[in-house]
């Protein structure tokens, strides 16, 4: 039944126009990164063809995001120092803002707030991964950044229905995903999953987007999906985001917590209160990254 609704929604999107695409260079980098025969030099030359992307990569590479001690002056050097996987994830993170630029939001769906939540989620995932010693070359950051991407698609193609979803979330004080099921018969996770597959994103990323509300279903990389789920909850606890529901959450009862703890037992030792308290600084930092990734700084300068 839900399958049918999803198909119907896919059809409607295809009738209206086409699914938003990632910039070609990003798709190429993703595919080249999966091919062991491709050299760093070839990837550098592909990226360098896009001056705006290259400039952003260098900007992030030289920011506190990686905390490198030396200055990185070329894409090739960035690839050597940071490694192919980190650059690939960075390219995905930057490119998504080209597809879905930040623009002043409508009252029901504020894209600025949306990205603030997403980048906050990415940053929390990054910090948690660092604390637990399971960094994944920035994939955890990008997964946090992209986990809700289906919401943008819903807002873009089904604006009226999506507005109803938001209203219902507040009215009934229910999680947004429940309201989506009620109004649309599908969810932002399903739509996001479809988009991620269409973009040929790495499979573990697709999985994290698909199952970030049901981490027990993740099979490929349950740690990544659980990280994203927990970061999402922490973001909510910090009031970053726009979901209407404000119910209390017991993190340690969550499947994501249990899954992550099974993989990383030291999670038990996390001083949760301290961690949540210190997140303020991280969220501030995430806002800065949002500026760098999306180039809103420059946009503001022009204005």
């Amino acid at each position: 039944m839900a399958e049918d609704r999803l198909e119907e929604i896919k059809e409607r999107i295809q009738n209206i126009g086409s699914l938003p695409t990632l910039p070609k260079v990003a798709t190429e980098v993703i595919s080249m990164a999966g091919n062991p025969d491709v050299s760093i030099k070839e990837i550098a030359s592909i990226i360098s063809q896009d001056p705006s992307l290259s400039a952003k990569i260098l900007k992030v590479a030289n920011s506190a995001f990686y905390g490198l001690k030396q200055r990185v002056a070329s894409i090739q050097l960035a690839l050597v120092i940071l490694g192919l996987n980190k650059i690939k994830n960075l390219v995905i993170g930057i490119s998504v803002f080209k597809t879905f630029p930040i623009r002043p939001g409508r009252p029901t769906f504020d894209r600025e707030k949306f990205w603030e939540h997403s980048v906050g989620c990415g940053q929390i995932a990054k910090i948690l991964a660092t604390l637990l010693g399971c960094e994944m070359d920035g994939e955890e950051f990008v997964a946090g950044l992209l986990h809700d991407v289906g919401k943008i698609v819903l807002d873009q193609f089904f604006h009226d229905e999506f507005t109803k979803v938001v209203d219902l979330t507040f009215e009934k004080d229910i999680p947004m995903i429940e309201a989506e099921k009620e109004v649309l018969g599908t969810t932002h996770a399903e739509i996001g999953s479809w988009l991620a597959e269409d973009w040929k994103l790495p499979l573990s990323l697709v999985e994290a987007i698909t199952y970030h509300h049901e981490p027990q279903k993740a099979a490929l990389n349950p740690t990544l999906t659980s990280l994203v789920r927990l970061s999402d909850l922490f973001c909510k606890a910090k009031g970053i985001g726009f979901s209407g529901d404000a119910q209390g959450v017991s993190i340690s009862d969550r499947i994501a917590w249990k899954t992550l703890k099974a993989a990383k037992p030291q999670l038990e030792e996390l001083d949760m209160e301290r961690f949540v308290f210190d997140l303020d600084t991280e969220i501030e930092r995430a806002r800065e990254y949002l500026g760098v990734f999306s180039n809103t700084d420059q946009a503001k300068e022009k204005v």
Partner: protein, 279 residues
């Protein structure tokens, strides 16, 4: 004149004395804090050295009186009404409705404990919120707010219920106009709110007195146990656990943590507030 110096040895002695009498613990890193608070007290009793002051605390016939004055000085907190608003919002919008929904006997008693209430800002703020909730008639309940502090001076101030405007800087306009009367530079709390709160002096480590605190629905104890060492913290938090009803909640200061203190509670994350639940 040079200001008196507090030697490390003397600091340890005074610190241990305060700890034995009150449970408040000044770690070595908090020496400066204790030094400045003791200095104020010394000026008032006109003593010039920490040695003399220590003898006063230890051997003088007036030592009880002086200790109590010292506690007043040591526990002075910056406490405005509605300090850390998200906690009050969660209390009003989530916690109280949940408690009343789960025990909807009709006309039920709602027991709130403000532990370490300083000069009354916290329990009065809670009283205002409960008064507003009662007025909506969405719930029927009889509120009972118990508030106490180790410092007698604080309790006297609380009972007076007069505050400089500075303490109302976080107070919503509605509450300000409804529950305070302005008299020159002071705001006086209304009688309707005053009668809702029962004040008393209490040392949280005094087991004989705390064991009668039972059947609490919500306990607020914010920025109080920061003065305690781990052993005293564990004791007090364990006592709160006993004092709460199942389903009750504990609020601590928003920068405090029960990590390594207690695992008895379930930690609940609310928007910008962490609350501990007794299941």
């Amino acid at each position: 004149m040079n200001s008196p110096q507090l030697s490390d040895d003397r600091f340890t002695q005074i610190r241990d004395l305060i700890y034995a009498e009150s449970g408040m613990y000044f770690a070595d890193t908090k020496k400066y804090l204790l030094e400045s608070r003791l200095s104020k007290r010394m000026e008032e009793v006109r003593l010039n050295s920490f040695d003399e002051y220590y003898y006063l605390l230890k051997y003088s016939p007036k030592k009880r009186e002086e200790l109590s004055k010292l506690f007043d000085q040591v526990t002075i907190n910056e406490t405005s009404f509605f300090r850390n608003m998200p906690q009050f919002q969660v209390f009003e919008k989530e916690i109280i409705p949940e408690i009343l929904k789960n025990n909807n006997a009709g006309g039920q008693r709602l027991r709130i404990w403000s532990a370490g209430c300083s000069s009354g800002q916290e329990p009065y703020a809670l009283a205002m919120i409960l008064n507003e909730l009662a007025a909506t008639k969405a719930f029927k309940f009889v509120p009972e707010i118990i508030a106490n502090d180790i410092s007698g001076a604080m309790i006297l101030d609380a009972q007076k219920g007069r505050y400089k405007g500075y303490y109302l800087r976080n107070t919503p306009e509605l509450y300000k106009s409804k529950y305070f009367t302005k008299n020159s530079d002071e705001y006086i709390i209304s009688n309707a709110i005053k009668v809702m709160v029962k004040f008393s002096i209490l040392n949280l480590l005094d087991e004989a007195k705390t064991k009668v605190m039972r059947d609490m629905d919500v306990i607020f104890c914010r920025n109080v146990i920061i003065y305690f060492d781990d052993e005293a913290k564990k004791k007090v938090i364990g006592m709160f656990y006993e004092a709460l009803r199942p389903g009750g909640y504990l609020f601590i200061g928003h920068s405090e943590s029960l990590h390594n203190i207690s695992r008895a509670f379930k930690l609940m994350l609310f928007p910008n507030a962490i609350v501990y639940k007794k299941e």
